[in-house]
């Protein structure tokens, strides 16, 4: 066949339609912004009764709860199919990444299914997030010694 892998890579690139970046960005901006706006509304609501740190914590909890409910109902995935990073980046996206495998792998049982695979997607974020915070902690401690 008259075809080389490197020239084929160029052919594939030409033939593959790119993502609609402008439209995707608008979706991500407005949906992501909308989720953050909802968070702020919730925070103002909680501030009526609680101090700022507690209101912030309750806001996170409420968003995670709402995301879990929407995930199980299948709504979050439908929104994310349009919004992309707009639903992935906020805390609701993280909740979706934990709840969705928990639901999906329940078919394999509570322990080998849900239990073992609940962090299949969020696991790397948790592992490297923890490692990064430990490294930063050591650095922070060393900076304190010097300063």
């Amino acid at each position: 066949m008259k075809l080389q892998p490197n020239e084929y890579a160029r052919m594939v690139q030409r033939a593959s339609p790119p993502s609609a970046v402008g439209r995707d960005c608008l979706w991500a901006f407005f949906v992501g912004g909308g989720i953050c706006l909802l968070g702020e509304v919730l925070r103002q609501f909680f501030l009526r009764w609680y101090d700022a740190p507690m209101a912030g914590t309750l806001t996170s909890i409420a968003l995670i709860f709402l995301s879990a409910v929407c995930t199980v109902a299948g709504w979050y995935q439908k929104l994310a199919a349009k919004a992309g990073a707009g639903t992935l980046v906020p805390i609701t996206g993280f909740a979706n990444s934990v709840v969705s495998p928990a639901v999906e792998f329940k078919a394999e049982g509570w322990v080998p299914g849900t239990g073992a695979r609940i962090f299949a997607i969020a696991g790397p974020v948790i592992a490297y997030g923890t490692a990064a915070s430990a490294a930063w902690g050591v650095l922070y401690w060393l900076l304190g010694k010097v300063g």
Partner: protein
């Protein structure tokens, strides 16, 4: 009785496809081929029929396609000498469990999305060689079972790229008989060679599989002394919009343009309004298009002679994560309307 030219096996006395059936889910029932399916279900989880998970649901879908095919062929399962079946689930379990219920002699086949042509080709060889009188060739795929195995959980929020393809929830079954009987004739089969042109994007399977389709077609045309104009249509299985465009470009470069090319992945859904990105895929996609559109058209006489070139991407989740490129395969089956069909 059988002539071999290069990779192509030509049957002097062609075995026949005597009956066929296609089953599909909700999205397939909203597509352009809806009316041609033998069975469409609104709820492809089959929860109402006791299925506890997607894997069982796919198996039941395949069983239903097999039952419909046997019914249309007027044969009982006891009269089947061999079933060749495969699917996308690890270890081909959808087929394994379907055959647990069917109880016929069974050989499992894995060719990813090329499985329909592969089982059909193998079954044709066995029927032509007198090793079996009646065989079933069948495959299935299920969107939900494939997503959880190859991609992410169903309710995980992710955006699909425009080059991605949608795994069909569909199954197709064909009843093959020894030469000399009524049905659509299998004139020749060509088993493909694995082609790998270093495509690593799991969301661009059409591009990964195109070289395999082109390679098999070129070998077939050279060996059989035919050209695309000798056929009413050349159907590829699941190249989608991107792979189809690439195939057109490559075949033109080879000096064998394919004006009558159609792709099962583009036929099963209406890409403009069904949100399937580049088109359909999955072992059940070409199986369903074969059984719902191609074989009925050959029977009616709307088509007289066609090629079905089903393509498969032969990677696994493991090899993909290890950074391996995606090897493709394509098997070709030449189908012809029988004079008495």
């Amino acid at each position: 009785m059988v002539t071999r030219k290069d990779d192509t096996i030509l049957f002097d006395r062609p075995p026949v496809i005597a009956a066929w059936a296609a089953a599909g889910g909700k999205k397939e029932g909203e597509g352009p081929l809806a009316k041609a399916f033998d069975l469409l279900v609104q709820d492809a989880s089959f929860a109402g029929e006791g299925c506890a998970n997607w894997e069982q649901a796919e198996s039941l879908l395949q069983q239903k396609a097999a039952a419909a095919c046997l019914r249309k062929g007027g044969v009982s399962r006891k009269e089947i000498d061999l079933v060749l079946a495969g699917d996308l689930q690890a270890q081909c379990t959808a087929s394994n469990y379907a055959l647990r219920a069917l109880g016929a002699p069974y050989a499992g086949v894995y060719g990813a999305c090329s499985t329909m042509a592969e089982t059909l080709a193998l079954a044709a060889c066995l029927a032509a060689g007198g090793m079996a009188r009646q065989l079933l060739a069948m495959t299935s795929s299920h969107f939900c079972a494939a997503e959880r195995q190859f991609r992410t959980p169903l309710v995980y929020g992710a955006k699909r790229t425009p080059t991605a393809q949608w795994t069909a929830t569909a199954a197709g079954a064909c009843l093959l008989r020894a030469p000399g009987q009524r049905g659509v004739r299998v004139r020749s089969v060509t088993f493909g060679r694995v082609q790998d042109y270093a495509v690593r994007d799991i969301n661009n399977m059409g591009a990964a599989m195109m070289p395999a389709a082109a390679s098999t077609l070129l070998r077939y045309f050279a060996a059989s002394g035919t050209e695309p104009a000798d056929f009413d249509a050349v159907f590829t299985g699941d190249l989608g919009a991107v792979g189809s465009a690439l195939l057109g470009e490559q075949m033109a470069r080879e000096g064998v343009p394919l004006p009558n090319h159609r792709d099962c992945g583009c036929l099963l859904y209406d890409a403009a309004c069904q949100d399937v990105q580049a088109g359909g895929s999955g072992a059940g996609c070409s199986a369903a298009v074969l059984c719902a559109q191609i074989l009925p058209a050959l029977q009616r006489g709307d088509l007289r002679r066609v090629l079905l070139v089903a393509t498969g991407a032969l990677m696994s989740q493991t090899t993909f994560l290890q950074g391996e490129s995606i090897p493709g395969i394509a098997h070709c089956v030449e189908l012809e309307r029988g004079e008495d069909a």
